[in-house]
């Protein structure tokens, strides 16, 4: 068989990604039809920039979801004669599988296209989750720092500045290393950092429902049971049922990324809180005799949601970049891992001769982050309109 031309490759890529196109079209059709009833999400479809960003992000989300249908080959398998194969080269012996390496092969004769698609799954499994935990930590500490102020504020701000004064890359070199994984440091940090979301939801629900004890007991009880169950599994790998769990590698990376992101979120939330706490509705709540946590979580937080949602999108993008950096330096990733950062790192050795192995994940990473940034920009524009 002859190698494919570039037009053929594009056509075949299009066909291979068919599940993604179908899902994207369906999502956009439904969203645009009902956009007037969908709040801020619906308004996103009034802005071209926002729509492009959302489409890019959802492309990768769907690619990660349907990875099993999209893959042409096993991302870890090596195929004879396909080392550094050019894009569109046919396999010598497909053995019933797909006939071509659509985007070529890497230095270990693995399919670049399949690795890129599976890499999306690796990134999207960690980045949004890490950004979410960072946000809960930043919110749980930033609200009281801004609202209560005083010594608490001084102390927390000092600690946040301490972390922010570290160059990120240095922190990664120090925190994400095989030697560190053998010490209790990552577990201890995970123990503190992962406790925050549980505390956040407990306080959140307790502040709202403590006047109705039956309801409160139900909600807080459910949060505590599920939260502590997940907590024991994720932070200490001690889940009795074995559903929640993280490998030491992953935990190390996760903790480092959350640790880097949380202080920035803290500063943003603190700044917004300082601004909002002078508003009339906060004074009204204080006069009603509401408790401080109710005011922080149910008066201030909902009114701060605009900038926070925008920053959340940006933060997922930044986390993706950070994960790529970790992969690029080979920190905390498994040797065979198909994540984009380490694929770029492996591809750069032969970059001047066979650039396709590094370029595919590079463009993938760029398009995802670009999508998230455009989405944030669209959301900012639309939320400023009202």
């Amino acid at each position: 068989m002859d190698p494919l031309s570039w037009l053929d490759i594009l056509g075949r890529l299009f066909v291979q990604l068919l599940p993604v196109w179908v899902a994207l079209v369906a999502l956009f059709a439904v969203s645009i039809t009902f956009k007037r009833r969908l709040g801020l999400y619906g308004k996103l479809f009034d802005s071209t920039v926002g729509m492009i960003g959302f489409a890019l992000v959802m492309f990768w989300v769907f690619a990660a979801l349907f990875a099993n249908m999209i893959l042409t080959h096993d991302p870890l398998a090596q195929f004879s004669g396909m080392r550094n194969a050019a894009p569109g080269l046919p396999l010598r012996d497909p053995a019933g599988g797909y006939d071509y390496f659509l985007l070529g092969g890497d230095a270990l004769a693995r399919d670049v296209f399949s690795r890129m698609v599976v890499g999306a799954r690796e990134v999207l499994r960690i980045a949004p989750f890490a950004a979410m935990i960072s946000f809960m930590i930043g919110i749980s500490l930033g609200l009281p720092a801004g609202y209560i102020g005083g010594k608490l504020d001084t102390g927390l701000t000092f600690i946040a500045n301490l972390v922010l004064a570290f160059p990120v890359i240095l922190l990664f070199f120090l925190l994400v290393a095989p030697e560190i994984q053998d010490t209790p440091i990552p577990r201890a940090m995970a123990g503190i950092l992962f406790l925050m979301p549980v505390l956040f939801f407990t306080v959140l629900l307790n502040a709202r429902f403590f006047t109705q004890p039956p309801k409160r007991n139900l909600y807080v009880g459910a949060v505590l049971v599920i939260g502590l169950w997940a907590y024991s599994g994720l932070a200490f790998n001690a889940d009795p049922l074995g559903i929640w769990g993280m490998s030491p590698n992953l935990l190390n990376v996760f903790v480092a990324v959350v640790f880097v992101n949380a202080p920035t979120v803290f500063r943003i939330v603190r700044g917004i809180t300082l601004d909002i706490k002078t508003r009339d509705y906060v004074s009204a709540a204080q006069t009603r005799g509401e408790g401080p946590w109710y005011i922080m979580l149910w008066e201030i937080l909902p009114n701060a949601r605009g900038p926070l949602i925008v920053d959340f999108c940006l933060r997922i993008g930044y986390t993706t970049i950070l994960l790529g950096t970790l992969g690029f330096f080979g920190l905390g990733v498994a040797p065979e891992s198909p994540d984009w950062g380490s694929t770029i790192n492996q591809g750069r050795r032969l970059l001047t001769v066979y650039p396709h192995a590094a370029l595919a994940p590079a463009f993938a990473l760029m398009s995802l982050v670009l999508g998230l940034n455009l989405l944030a920009d669209g959301l900012r524009e639309e939320s400023l309109k009202d």
Partner: protein, 363 residues
């Protein structure tokens, strides 16, 4: 102003103190010391030999004592051998074995930075030489980045919502979405590869003599910086940092353009270029100044990535090598330098902000 300055410097010193201790703690955890013993005394030594090596070299004291020694506030450890020769931290560092010949304290404060195991040279020499190389890179990055970012930001912000604004804003967003390891890889593939991209095309047209247009390896820039070996690393770092500064400049510029005094100037009939250059620009540049200063520590990230990618042996490359080879003393020293750079730029940006912005008065 003096009180403000004194307080800022005080906080800075406390921060530096905390950070150096954290770095010291993380680089001196037992597992890393064990690795060090094995690389220094042979990889197949037994656990007992590791323990005795650590003991002989003063590594088994409490962490705080060793931190004090390293800082130079505590006395260095000493160890008398059976034949009367004296050994100890300060004896090794000053290269003598004669009892009483070495100073009692030898740490960072006294100027003893230790020896690098990776480069087999005093750390101060290694860091000094590399910092010069990185300084050159940073200088060119700032020369390229700052004017470009300001021009893009001002052009985008002077007519909010126009087509120029939309195009330039999208460009700025795209540049913040392209981390250094992506743009560097794309640049190399496009401009510095002899088989793909632009270079083979130019060679076949006979426009360039060498096999490639730009050099993908910047090591030669150490002796002789030319456009062809230094442009790619500089562009790679500058591109990622540029978008952010441009967006801040744009936001600041749009705000200034809606001010009363700009409207007054327009109603007086001042031409548009004159309004931008003489009325708006100065006020719009206060915010970007702070951001540019705060961007310098951020550029440090990019510098590490770019120096590794283009094998340019500067400070970032040294940091990477030290971390990869468990070179404890070098990593410690590099961390101290990095942390100091961050803290000092923060201080300058605080002072500069107060100085530039007459609306802020510090008492």
């Amino acid at each position: 102003m003096l009180f403000f300055l004194a307080r800022r410097i005080g906080v800075m010193l406390v921060t530096a103190f905390c950070l150096t201790f954290v770095v010291f703690y993380l680089t001196n955890i037992p597992a890393k010391l064990e690795t060090l013993a094995k690389t220094q005394a042979g990889s197949r030594i037994s656990d007992a030999e590791v323990a005795s090596w650590l003991d002989r070299n003063g590594y088994n004291q409490p962490m705080l004592v060793r931190y004090g020694e390293w800082l130079g506030v505590a006395r260095g450890w000493t160890h008398a051998a059976d034949d009367g020769a004296q050994s100890g931290r300060c004896y090794i560092l000053s290269g003598t074995t004669e009892p009483g010949a070495a100073p009692a304290r030898c740490g960072l404060i006294q100027g003893y930075w230790g020896n690098s195991t990776r480069f087999r040279a005093p750390v101060s020499e290694v860091i000094g030489a590399r910092l010069g190389a990185t300084g050159m890179l940073m200088l060119w990055v700032l020369i390229v980045m700052v004017p470009m970012a300001l021009v893009v930001g001002v052009l985008a912000g002077m007519r909010e919502g126009s087509r120029t604004d939309r195009t330039l804003s999208t460009f700025a967003i795209a540049s913040t979405a392209t981390p250094e390891y992506v743009s560097g890889v794309v640049f190399i593939a496009l401009l510095a590869s002899s088989t793909v991209g632009l270079s083979p095309l130019l060679v076949s047209w006979g426009w360039i003599e060498g096999p490639v247009l730009f050099q993908g390896n910047a090591r030669s820039a150490l002796d002789n910086i030319t456009f062809w070996n230094f442009a790619l690393p500089v562009m790679t770092v500058a591109l990622y940092g540029m978008g952010y500064v441009a967006r801040i400049t744009r936001a600041s510029m749009t705000e200034v353009m809606t001010q009363q005094y700009v409207r007054t100037a327009r109603l007086k009939g001042v031409s548009f270029p004159n309004i931008v250059l003489r009325h708006a620009l100065r006020n719009a540049l206060i915010a970007p100044f702070t951001v540019i200063m705060l961007q310098i520590p951020w550029l440090l990230n990019g510098v590490v990535i770019v120096e590794v990618l283009f094998s340019y042996p500067g400070f970032g490359w040294t940091l990477f090598e030290a971390a990869a080879n468990n070179d404890i003393e070098l990593l410690l020293a590099a961390s101290v330098v990095a942390v100091l750079v961050v803290l000092i730029t923060q201080l300058i940006s605080d002072i500069g902000y107060v100085y530039l912005n007459p609306r802020i008065r510090v008492t």
